[in-house]
Symmetry: C2
Subunit: 147 residues, 2 copies
């Protein structure tokens, strides 16, 4: 059973794409089944706002998540509509909005954290800490190579 060097490299990216999609779908479904009307990307944004102790702007959140400003605007629109956070005009720079959690948003976060952890645990079942470190090293190399 042979697999060429090129095929191996091809397959590995395909496999990475599949893994990420599966994780996303699994998570979205788990959120839904747990009664949360939230996607993974919405979760990621909400969590960053929650974790930011100080006032955060949209640009700052976008940078943390490597997301485009346009994507962020739209995700925030949804989160605002769901009353999980809100925008408040920055006091000193009127181009900016400070992003702030609502009580409902905070409650969502706190109730979702255990679920998110359990999903990650499930995804990485049978993967050793050493393997995770190798994985992370490889991913950093790939990102550097494509910079």
């Amino acid at each position: 059973m042979f697999i060429s060097d090129q095929e191996l490299k091809d397959v590995v990216f395909f496999s990475m794409d599949q893994s990420m999609r599966r994780l996303r779908n699994y998570s979205n479904q788990a959120f839904h089944e747990a009664g949360f009307d939230l996607t993974v990307d919405q979760w990621l944004v909400l969590k960053r706002v929650y974790d930011a102790q100080e006032q955060v702007s949209q640009t700052e959140i976008a940078e943390m998540l490597s997301k485009d400003g346009a994507s962020l605007t739209r995700i925030l629109d949804i989160l605002v509509k769901k009353e999980l956070l809100f925008r408040k005009m920055n006091e000193t720079d009127r181009r900016k909005f400070d992003l702030l959690m609502t009580p409902k948003g905070t409650e969502y976060i706190q109730r979702l954290i255990p679920l998110v952890i359990s999903i990650r645990e499930k995804a990485l079942n049978n993967v050793s800490d050493a393997e995770i470190i190798v994985l992370r090293t490889i991913l950093e190399k790939i990102k550097t190579n494509l910079r």
Copy 2:
């Protein structure tokens, strides 16, 4: 400098998502700069049709790529509009279309293959064969865990 087990697991998925997005963006840009009006996903579909020696249906291509039938329909619409392939009604099952390359599509494939290989080589620069095998093993575990 400590990083908890949970953070490590969190970061690794974030990093994987970033790596895949960077590869996609890098590839799309490289295609564009090489004068090809084609996205990576369009490339993937076109390449599978090219590689299929026999007649292939949309469902078969969708399965090969783990893509939704709806996504495939839309990508094919674009490829047909670009005259890189065409649909031909299946002789024995009128629900199906056989997907066939046009000369232009074949030429695109042949000219793009070296570029695609060079992108993969660049992405995996400094990543050893052993690491790639570990990576693949981990990804398979993740996919299995989330089935």
